[in-house]
């Protein structure tokens, strides 16, 4: 079938039945379930080691109250990692390329951190709007700027993830189309393009993992400010 460039970004459906739920929950099936064993197989051991690493990394800067967020942040991290990496396989749909999905992840979590801060320590949260040591004349302008920066955070989180993944996938598609198109006329150039595609794929693997990490790290940073 002929694919246009944007078919990969359309929400999957089969005979009108939306498959988005399957595409969201399928990655969880690939993870080994915790067995009631003490010494597990390699995959379970590595999974446990990874989860330990992630949770330690995220929870070390947080105080005791912030440890309530351990479960959701670690699950979010694992989910984003898996979904991003699986999206690099051919003919797969990456849910995180949809802005709706990323905003749906970012906005409630950011709002939760903000409301936690405003409820428990309102003056500290509001004081974050003014960095230390600003000259008196600049205070009004700086408050406006910091408020804008605060309110744009969920948008930034969502759009950052969407843009990175969409751009990466689109680039892969474009360069591979170029490779296929050039193959019949200039095979040597096609080979060069293929090399570029190889490098880009490696970059995309890295970007997939880094974007997942950055999303969760920023959320934990916003939490640190407010809890």
């Amino acid at each position: 079938m002929n694919l246009s460039f944007f078919d990969q970004f359309s929400s999957p459906s089969l005979f009108g039945i939306p498959l988005i739920l399957i595409s969201l929950t399928f990655p969880a099936l690939l993870l080994p379930s915790p067995d009631n064993r003490w010494v597990t197989n390699r995959l379970s051991t590595l999974q446990l080691w990874l989860i330990n690493l992630i949770t330690k990394q995220l929870m070390t800067p947080l105080n005791k109250k912030g440890h309530k967020w351990a479960l959701i942040l670690t699950s979010l991290m694992i989910f984003l990692l898996l979904v991003n990496l699986l999206g690099l396989l051919p003919y797969t749909f990456t849910p995180t390329t949809q802005l709706s999905m990323n905003l749906a992840l970012a906005f409630p979590l950011w709002l939760a951190t903000l409301l936690t801060g405003l409820r428990n320590q309102p003056s500290t949260t509001l004081s974050h709007l003014l960095p230390e040591g600003t000259p008196t004349l600049l205070i009004p302008a700086l408050i406006m700027i910091e408020t804008t920066s605060l309110l744009i955070r969920p948008l930034a989180l969502g759009v950052r993830l969407t843009a990175n993944l969409t751009a990466g996938h689109l680039l892969i598609q474009l360069i591979s189309t170029a490779t296929v198109a050039l193959y019949s006329t200039m095979p040597a150039i096609s080979l060069l393009t293929l090399l570029i595609l190889l490098l880009l794929t490696i970059l995309e693997v890295a970007v997939a993992m880094i974007q997942a990490y950055v999303f969760v790290l920023l959320l934990s940073l916003y939490l640190q400010e407010n809890i």
Partner: protein
Amino acid sequence: MLSRLVLRAAPAALRALPPPVAVGVLHTTRPLHTTQQSLAPVPPLPEKGGEVRHGLIPEEFFQFLYPKTGVTGPYMLGTGLLLYLLSKEIYVINHETVASACILAVIIYGIKKFGADVAAFADKLNEEKVSAAQAMKNEAMQALQTAIEEEKKEQWRVEGHTYLFDAKRNNIAMLLETNYRERLMMVYNEVKKRLDYQVALQTLKRQKEQDHMIQWVEKNVIQSITPQQQKESIAKCILDLKALSKSAHAAV
């Protein structure tokens, strides 16, 4: 492969429920009642995973086709299928093909290069866990062994206590004996002192009596010498002296 995943994951997931619920669903995880009913002991994990050829296709598939088509059977099947899909354009070569080739190359390179290291790392994690527990067990056993040795030593020490007590008893007896003898000596000395005193007293008394008597006798004698007797004795003495001087002259 995925159905295998789901079928394998379901009993473990059901067993992982909280105990009140797990007991209820346990029998639903053994539809034909072929396995044991209890949750423990867990059967051991197999040493090696299932054999796969080319990282994807299980070895059982090759064995399955071997009787009918020999060694090259599965490969012919694969090639034929691939060519059928390509030539009938059931699978169209498009840009995704190239992209999939790239990602597959990256994945295979990653697995080939880092697979052994990651497996060794996982094994090391497990090994550390087991060896930590073993070390604890060994330490406990060692501590108990040391305790047994100490106890035996204490029992040997207790045996030697009888000798100790004997020696102490001897000591005390000697001390008592010495003390008794000292006191005896003291008594003897005191008694002797008193008796010596009495003896000295009597000696003194006799001495005094003798002296007194001698003095009295001498006094009386001197008193009794009359002047006439005195003159007579002096004259006799002079005559004796003359006689003696004569004999002395003669001797010389």
